[in-house]
Symmetry: C3
Subunit: 131 residues, 3 copies
């Protein structure tokens, strides 16, 4: 297992981790198979979406905030119930195909760590299975 | 493939299945790889979230009920359209890393079966791929 | 990697691709393992849900349109921010178990390509890992 470290700077923040993930794939000479990207935190997640225009990430953060407001009458008393709910909606793990030693992503796709209770220091776990 | 059986007792209910999943991993002596957790039902799902405080699961159930009410004018006439929609939002499968013969979960993470049309008898399918 | 081609005909449309996916599994004589189904587009996704009654797919399309309207004040100016957000909520990839040369799906489950910015020509990538 490989571990990537991230520092988020806002409460809600999608951070493009594609370059960091790609570096791990290259350094390990992972050639052909499936790469698993996993968030071990319960108030974050992993999502793949457009990385060319940063306003897409901003719209995702913003819309999730509107759908799942921070201030509802929640039972969990730590003030971050909305963060947990968003984590389950986005999901804590994604996978990516690897071929010829590189990530197989669509033209506009990037891999994002989704922070929902930052700012924090976060980890992303990576594991690879050969075809 | 291994199968876990679950009995849900409410219409909406996140049930912590971490102990049952871990038992299957141990019994099969699965050492290092990826564990796939799959829900074969179209009104349930699998999610990984905080298991320490049960109010987190309650808040997820409750917020999804508010966002996707049971009583909208749906086309599907079985009275469980909301359950199907929640299933697609949460997702019917998750994966987990396995290392040294045990699940690699974050400090607060547990694996949940998400029931959206209970109470029912449910199955969860498990499969393992070695690294 | 195998590629399936799809032509969507509406802006929001869940298309059942189970038969096409199954054909790829059979043609490749994939016997036992995990099949990965991946959408390389940032305004589409993959979901597994009921395929028997097409009104379930219609209710999912319709409810997501109500939750994430097309016309909010988004920062992304291409008029498809809602499509990107739905893609992250549904997810761009799913997996399926394969046993005895066939997909392991629940009684009512089918695999869907979820179009959120159609009509378009779309691709779905498939990859298989043996158990």
């Amino acid at each position: 297992m490989e571990i990537i470290s991230i520092k988020t700077t806002r409460r809600e923040q999608l951070i493009d981790i594609t370059a960091k993930v790609r570096e791990v794939v290259k350094n390990n000479k992972w050639e052909d198979g499936i790469l698993y990207i996993y968030c071990p935190h319960t108030t974050g997640g992993i999502t793949i979406n457009e990385s060319a225009d940063p306003s897409v990430a901003a719209d995702i953060e913003d819309t999730l905030m509107k759908l799942i407001p921070r201030s509802r009458h929640y039972k969990h008393i730590e003030g971050n119930s909305d963060s947990h709910i968003k984590s389950s909606i986005i999901g804590c793990g994604s996978f990516c195909f690897v071929e010829k030693g590189d990530l197989v992503l669509g033209t506009w796709q990037g891999i994002f760590f989704a922070e929902f209770d930052g700012p924090r220091n976060r980890k992303v776990y990576l594991k690879f299975i050969r075809s």
